[in-house]
Amino acid sequence: VMLHFENVKVFLENTLKPYDLSSVDFKTSHLQSSILLTATNGGILSYATSDSSVPKNSINEINSVNNLKMMSLLIKDKWSEDENDPGEQSSKSCYPVEMDSSKVNIYTYEMEDLHACVGQIPNSDLLLLFLADSTFPYGLLVVKIEKALRELTDLYGYRLG
């Protein structure tokens, strides 16, 4: 089974949209990036970014993608470490949720000046990673990623290679 890369990319782009809560006049920025990466080695399979100021095929775009690759690797390593650490799973930054009859842990991390949030797609070799600026509240990031993970039923059980 192969990924439909075009649809995956559009899905990730759709996750970038900001919140605008008119009930309390609260707005967020767009997510900075939304990334589908492998849980095995942290490699990026697909990504979307809201940084439209970076011209395509420019040195800045290459640097930007390299930064995403680096961050994905670091987050995957941290995720892997935390998945094997029961102590971490009862911390403030771990949200266990029930999905597709399995338990998925959603983790929040502070990464330089960014807020990161990652969760495994149930029973798969894939992780979904959101990166946002530091004004984007962690609690809201968790709600957003949980909803997105629940939409990704096509990828439940997806194994690489």
Partner: protein
């Protein structure tokens, strides 16, 4: 009358914040421990402000008004 709001989750992480709420994140740990009535409400006073609390479905809303 509303000076600000904070909504936070069961892990005491912020979901939204407005007005004075955005400067009062340090209140969350204490507010999360306030005993709520059977319907999920409580009222507290501090820092010349009233904080009206309501918790439902793991989300707590704190609304700040003048005392």
């Amino acid at each position: 009358d509303i000076r600000g709001t904070i909504t936070f989750d069961s892990h005491n992480n912020v979901i939204e914040s407005t007005g004075v709420g955005s400067q009062r994140f340090e209140d969350i740990d204490e507010l999360s421990q306030v005993a709520l009535d059977a319907e999920g409400f409580a009222l507290v006073r501090g820092h010349s402000l009233l904080v009206h609390l309501y918790k439902h479905d793991d989300m707590t809303l704190a609304v700040y008004t003048d005392a």
